[in-house]
Symmetry: C2
Subunit: 339 residues, 2 copies
DNA sequence: CTGAAAGCGCTTACAG
DNA sequence: CTGAAAGCGCTTACAG
């Protein structure tokens, strides 16, 4: 086992000072050609690589980004990380991933751990619990220490920082308008509990679209699903109670695919008897039979934009007090679950 | 903006030495009660947190694990990361994620970057290209520097290190045996190119099962799909060419769901006319209609085991030359795509 | 052209 | 009981 070689060892071996070795390897004009070549050859031979940790300590920057998300076994979040990783990597940054599991406490602990010098800045999506508690002290804390934070998807107005979002409300509105345009009159909504910011916004979009089209809003047609486990059960009860529904708009893939499954079970054919539109263009929508018409939500782009905002801020020392909110375009991906 | 406070600042403020502050905060018996309390109170007030980077440099360990995988927008790999992250976190370790995008060069670059002191050890699955080239110098290099590596899923016999795998061959065999048991006589195989280790093993299992059941092996019934993009096209041509096929065994979810889609298009009913078994119990198999019978592959468990092997090795200084290969149990999840 | 010194933020063996 | 010193691995302003 040949341990990693350090400047000190090279210096000793070559009988020069550490400074000389360091400068030679950075090709400083201060050092004589001959010495430089000798040192460089030796370093190459021993495969010298500077120690990142020492550099981080010296430069007071780690060139790594901390990412905190609610879960990773989730197509959208995985896609966002993919975008972050690729952008970050091309700028020499690394990515540290922490999962909050939708828990406030885990989110706080993870932030504090990472904020202890391990990273230069954060990219994050809030956990459900955090959105519910509306307690953002951990984020304010980190920002006040001068560490930039970029929020995406699940954001809050209570924090001033860069953000990357989609226009959830308009996207939902467009989806519902599309159903209306296709002749649907009775349109239901499968959504989450209100404290999930995006769920709330998508619900607002649904309501707005109905009003815009002069359709009656019937609160009974809005199903708020809290527990993912019993989602099929709840959707079944709901569809039974509203047999004359023409279509549903679901705020995520899971609700959409489950709605189709339940409809099938009840003998309704999709899209002939019943239409479904989902949200987030993931793997389920694509491979489901019938495949699902859905609102695209470009996670890759969101990840890249978030990484760009963060890195731009990190590389510009001037403290810019103006924060940006990037809105990523969405569009409807028409597939088989709508006529 | 209140910058993070350091020992030095506290020392100055309180007019004691840095050593005294450090010892007080670590509650050393060396220091007088009064001083300790004073320092601790002050530290609490200013929310002092030790700098991770400085600690890493001092202790020569970063308490972070480097994970290198081919892609992250992939249910199985995301699940493995999930397992790693949770186990690692409970032992105070962080996780750095790098993507190789199935590219040899990216895998090498990422390893070298991370090996430069950023992490204590690696958990990795080989990229396709690396498996094809059979060039593992970057891994040998890192191991010879004393940095432990744990490989999972896509491993190689050419490297001595801890490994976490499933018994791909036996699992495939079991799946095919199940089809035979259900009365299928003509069973096809949808697999990948041979250099992908797991694809090869699953192919071997398929062949073994046929032989075991005294069934004729027809090479024409084995479709090796290289390009994911044209996968539907290829499967269609294949199924057209073999209209009398009773079933196919697919080595991944994507091939399985696509086979069902194509079969449907050709007017075959699944599972009445045609059965499908997939590999990897992911989201597609679960939500597809019909849902897909599949070989489970417990990514969460694999991730946890891999993290355990790595952390055990990191925490035990004694250089253990005995490497473990953990084989995770698989089983068949029966669903709707088989009778 | 080369090297000693200071410093990034911390810990710890040792001296007083 | 407290503190100066050395050291983790590096860089760089400064002296010679």
């Amino acid at each position: 086992m040949k341990k990693k070689v350090t400047l000190k060892q090279i210096a000793k071996e070559l009988d020069v000072s550490i400074s000389t070795v360091s400068k030679s390897l950075r090709n400083s004009p201060e050092i004589g050609e001959e010495t430089k070549e000798k040192v460089q050859a030796f370093a190459r031979l021993y495969n010298y690589k500077p120690n990142n940790i020492a550099l981080s300590l010296k430069n007071r920057k780690t060139k790594t980004i901390g990412v905190i998300i609610p879960e990773i076994v989730h197509h959208f979040f995985a896609t966002v990380i993919n975008g972050i990783e690729h952008y970050a990597n091309s700028f020499g940054y690394h990515v540290m991933v922490c999962l909050s599991d939708e828990s406030f406490d885990k989110e706080v602990i993870n932030m504090e751990m990472l904020a202890g010098g391990s990273i230069d800045g954060f990219i994050m999506a809030l956990s459900k619990e955090t959105q519910q508690k509306k307690d953002f002290h951990h984020i304010t804390e980190v920002i006040s220490q001068g560490m930039p934070v970029v929020m995406f998807d699940r954001v809050t107005n209570d924090i001033f920082c860069d953000k990357v979002i989609i226009d959830d409300k308009t996207a939902a509105q467009d989806a519902v308008n599309f159903l209306v345009y296709k002749g649907m009159r009775k349109i239901g909504l499968l959504t989450t509990i209100d404290y999930v910011s995006v769920g709330k916004l998508r619900t607002d979009g649904y309501l707005q679209a109905l009003r815009y089209n002069n359709m009656i809003v019937n609160e009974d047609l809005i199903l708020k699903i809290e527990d993912m486990e019993s989602c099929e059960q709840q959707i079944e009860t709901y569809l039974m109670a509203h047999p004359d529904l023409d279509a549903v708009f679901a705020v995520n893939e899971l609700f959409a695919v489950t709605a189709i499954k339940v409809a099938n079970k009840m003998g309704k054919k999709v899209p002939e008897d019943f239409s479904v539109i989902g949200f987030t263009d993931g793997i389920i929508s694509k491979y489901s039979t019938p495949s699902i018409t859905t609102v695209s939500q470009d996670g890759l782009e969101m990840g890249k934009k978030a990484a760009k905002l963060l890195i731009d801020r990190l590389e510009n020392d001037e403290e810019d007090e103006y924060y940006t909110t990037e809105v990523i375009e969405t569009y409807l991906v028409e597939r088989e679950s709508t006529p």
